[in-house]
């Protein structure tokens, strides 16, 4: 990826320094975390449950006003969040959901184009309940991308989807990110998903970055030997043996 050189020459899209967050007095969820994400860089965040993945993402999204903590966070002006559930407003038709809050006379046209990009052309007038889970999540991707965010935050966006739909969504997300070039922070519990999608995989443990690896695969195929080696390495770092997985 060309992001290596860009990452060195320009300001990072995301800069986090010494970030602390805690939900009670006993112990922090994030304990002095540092993180840089270059513009256009796709970072996957993995880690066991309770290691602070979602806490970090919510801090970057500015959704943690009730959580104690301190530290420095710099994010771009335009940030968009994709949640695990699609969060389409049930009382708005699909196109109105996609352009919700969008300004400008061409908003509807941009919304239509975004829906076409995620393969939902012609469904503009559908109610959210008429869509399958995968379609709803594609619509929520369209809602994020139509805003041309400089940073896309995704919190296990495919967690509720079946395996087949998930693979299709991976291809779609990869293509969309190459087209729109936002910096991406994807929280996932799925190591394969992280390797397939990301330029960089970060493993969180005890509220700090434990492992930070660049994914430099020639082929992003699960059957590839390099892929398997990286998966084994990451699972090992997660504290899991390949046999147990």
């Amino acid at each position: 990826m060309a992001t290596d050189t860009r990452g060195l020459t320009t300001r990072p899209a995301v800069r986090v320094r010494d970030l602390h967050r805690s939900f009670n007095r006993n112990g922090g969820v994030l304990n002095g975390l540092d993180l840089d994400i270059a513009p256009g860089e796709f970072v996957a965040l993995i880690g066991r449950s309770g290691t602070g993945k979602s806490t970090l993402l919510r801090a970057l999204a500015g959704l943690d006003r009730d959580v104690d903590g301190h530290g420095r966070i710099e994010v771009p002006a335009s940030v968009s969040v994709v949640f695990q559930d699609s969060r389409l407003l049930p009382w708005k038709r699909l196109l109105d959901n996609v352009v919700f809050g969008l300004r400008g006379a061409d908003a509807a046209d941009r919304g239509r184009q975004a829906l076409a990009e995620v393969g939902l052309a012609g469904r503009e007038r559908a109610w959210p309940f008429e869509l399958s889970g995968g379609e709803q999540q594609r619509a929520s991707l369209a809602r994020s991308l139509v805003r041309e965010p400089q940073l896309l935050l995704a919190d296990e966006p495919f967690g509720a989807l079946d395996a087949l739909t998930r693979i299709r969504m991976h291809t779609l997300l990869r293509r969309l990110c190459e087209a729109h070039q936002p910096a991406v922070l994807l929280v996932t519990h799925d190591v394969d998903e992280a390797i397939v999608l990301a330029d960089r995989v970060i493993l969180l443990d005890a509220g700090v970055v434990h492992t930070d690896v660049r994914v430099e695969l020639t082929r992003r195929s699960r059957s590839d030997a390099e892929f398997a080696a990286l998966r084994t390495f990451l699972l090992d770092r997660l504290g899991l043996d390949e046999e147990n997985h």
Binding site: A61, L63, L89, F100, G101
Partner: protein
């Protein structure tokens, strides 16, 4: 029986023979498909029972006039006693009072639902007011506003305000917090949040409140029209009471009933149209 035939790239699924459609169907637990004109079946049946009872002599005219006698009385009132004028002035009272009450109730519900300060100012007094029957306040209102139109409209407004407030507030607070979170990430202002998230989300509650408010406003109408009215359906009933005209009283009651029924139907039909986004047992 169904058969699946794999022939190169074609998959055919369907009954083996026409008319041999064997399937496993679960017993339906919801109300099922709509019945045409279902709305009118109940009232029509009630009218039929009333007619049959009167024709057979089971219902004495002194107890309840026969439907045809009521029809004659209706015609007499229409031609000789300005029934249309009475209907219109009653309608005017309830529409003005209802509009006032619904608007105030909805605004108060939104303010109290969205701000803790508003809630602490508004919610308590309304809950207290709720436990005092509005009709018991009429003597006080007469002292404050006199016995004219003002007192009547304020009573109707107050009586319809409460159900609108309660149900809209309840509907608003029931909106899933994750939609508010989404709105925050999208970066919209309070106004847009209210318009696109709060109002549509509270609409089912508001419409339920509306059904109660409509019938409450008619109840208020019946009562306030007993006080010094010079026109209106209540006035007509009061006069008929003095002259012992049961048929005219029934004319008035039927008109009140038709008002209420039409208003309730209108609210329900509106609800079905504007809540098309919901997948419920309503269908």
């Amino acid at each position: 029986m169904t058969a699946t035939v794999h022939a190169d790239e074609v998959t055919v699924t369907g009954p083996e023979r026409p008319g041999d459609d064997v399937r496993v169907v679960r017993r339906r637990l919801g109300p099922g498909n709509r019945i045409r004109f279902s709305f009118w079946i109940g009232p029509a049946l009630a009218l039929a029972v009333w007619s049959a009872g009167s024709a057979a002599g089971l219902i004495k005219p002194a107890i309840l006039s026969a439907p045809w006698d009521v029809a004659v009385a209706f015609q007499d009132q229409w031609v000789n006693h300005d029934l249309l004028g009475n209907i219109l002035s009653s309608l005017r009272r309830s529409v003005v009072g209802l509009t006032l009450g619904v608007t105030t109730g909805a605004v108060l519900a939104v303010v109290s639902g969205l701000s803790r300060g508003g809630e602490s100012l508004i919610d308590g007094p309304i809950q207290i007011k709720r436990s005092i029957p509005t009709l018991a306040l009429i003597p006080l209102f007469i002292a404050w506003f006199g016995i004219g139109e003002q007192m009547k409209i304020i009573t109707i407004a107050l009586i319809s305000l409460v159900p609108i407030y309660i149900h809209t507030h309840n509907g608003l607070r029931g909106i899933d917090g994750k939609y508010a979170e989404l709105a925050e990430t999208i970066g919209i202002g309070r106004g847009e949040f209210v318009r696109h998230v709060v109002l549509p989300g509270a609409l089912p509650g508001f419409l339920l409140g509306m059904r109660f408010a409509v019938t409450s406003s008619l109840l208020g109408l019946v009562v306030v029209e007993q006080y010094n009215a010079t026109h209106g359906i209540g006035h007509m009933i009061t006069l008929a009471e003095q002259y012992g005209q049961t048929d005219v009283i029934v004319v008035g009651l039927v008109i009140y009933g038709v008002f209420g029924y039409c208003a309730d139907s209108a609210v329900r039909l509106t609800g079905r149209k504007v809540l098309a986004w919901r997948r419920t047992l309503e269908g």
